[in-house]
Symmetry: C2
């Protein structure tokens, strides 16, 4: 099996942004992402550290808006509104799910597409649905497409099975793959014969959120398997939706977890923030 790692994909995205970032710097603009974090969930904090590192390494900024777990809806909405109006902020990311009692409804409705770097807002969802490339797609879904393209995998006419139908990965990646001329099948918990749907595909995109659920029954020779899962296994180790060890001698190529799609996601986020900063000048 050829290992399709995320690092070279991520490096190329960052490389391609350098010129724009320099040009912006010359004009006194540092592309800046604001992160809204309510509470201190360990995985949010870990993701935040990764973000900061990535942005700083590329001469961009991350500003953290930390709110207590018992923040009121009004305060949360006002923080988002203020960031929306702040010209020094070029992108906004809010960690979800929010704690119980809080809703993202107002932000989803009001966030402007340009600052909506991870496509949580209605406008970007609509643009994604319409196939309008002016909008931003959810970063992880786009990371899948960037990775596939980086490795020169042609999608036209290919059969792709997407496992999962979430708003942040399954559905957007399916729409993006359809736009790329793949024949796409969307599977989920109610699918009757998942193994056969997977074996039928040229490419499998696993985005079910269930540790190591895709194994040797689901694959055949010649396939490419993209693992979007981010789970913790019984030993407390990070793992994907794919049990890669059990299929690595069968499939043609696959992404590891960690070091796969996940490492492309923050670079896509950076790209969205830089793109919007460039448009705002």
């Amino acid at each position: 099996m050829t290992e399709l790692t995320g690092k070279p994909v991520s490096d190329r995205i960052c490389e391609e942004l350098k010129e724009t970032v320099s040009a912006l710097k010359a004009k006194g603009v540092i592309p800046t992402l604001a992160v809204i974090r309510v509470g201190e969930r360990e995985d949010d904090l870990a993701y935040e550290r990764g973000l900061k590192k990535k942005f700083e390494a590329n001469e961009c900024n991350v500003v953290i808006k930390e709110l207590p777990e018992d923040v009121t809806q009004e305060t949360l909405d006002n923080v988002a509104k203020a960031l929306g109006e702040d010209d020094s902020i070029h992108g906004i990311l809010m960690f979800r799910p929010l704690p119980r009692g809080l809703t993202d409804k107002n932000i989803v409705r009001s966030i402007k597409a340009g600052k909506d770097s991870d496509a949580m807002g209605m406008e970007n969802m609509a643009r994604l649905f319409a196939g309008d490339e002016e909008g931003f797609a959810p970063c992880t879904a786009q990371a899948v497409i960037e990775l596939i393209k980086y490795y020169g995998i042609d999608l036209k006419g290919k059969k792709v099975t997407v496992v999962g139908r979430s708003l942040v990965i399954g559905k957007p990646v399916a729409l993006m793959l359809i736009k790329e001329n793949a024949t796409v099948t969307v599977c989920h918990t109610k699918t009757k014969d998942l193994a056969s749907e997977c074996r039928n595909a040229d490419i499998i995109v696993a985005a079910a959120g269930s540790a190591k659920m895709i194994g040797k029954d689901h694959v055949r020779e010649g396939q490419i398997v993209i693992d979007v899962g981010m789970n913790v296994d019984e030993e407390g180790k990070l793992c994907g939706d794919v049990d890669l060890d059990s299929i690595k001698d069968i499939i043609e190529a696959g992404t590891p977890v960690p070091r796969g799609v996940g490492s492309v996601t923050t670079s896509v986020l950076l790209k969205h923030v830089v793109q919007n900063a460039a448009r705002s000048v």
Copy 2:
């Protein structure tokens, strides 16, 4: 083959609206759809006549805003805006495609979800993508679902192949079928082996816009075939995407064209207008 006609589906939808329409009438409200028509395309005029008949038969109104083919963008946008602000209008439908030189962009962005009876606006597209049932789906896509449900066809775990990826039918119906727990494959012009993708399904939804393209190579025993096509054959007769004559002895059930999905569409439109009128009181 059992013929799945649209009339009983349509009749039931209208029947279920009666009480709401009466209650609104008692309050002096007549649910009213405004139709924006630019020019005089024959198929727009035919659809318009059907709409008027349907709405009048159900004690609702249709108001036609007829604009000349050389109307300016500004006038078109202003007409749409005025209808959006007019409390006596509960739904807006605009015939598309618009003549050359005109764009629907401003309307798509600004139309409020409640009056957007056929889901051309961003808000309803986003809601459809998010699976939020507060919004309105495109009428024909919803007509497919209403027809399937009327005939008691269970979608859970069923394999459905959708032929077509348009914004008005293919993509919305695929999302709606996924929400109904079907395992959905979206095919299109770049699909390599369409016949096999179709034979593999329990249900085929043909929405390709190509006369009689689905024939006996595409089907097997036991299947249900829903035809969303509205084409004109070589003899000038209305026909679907499915060559029903050639498959009627093979499949289990199918919709005719005309008298199938198309006859449900205007009832769904009526439903959306009545629902919004009821919400507005």
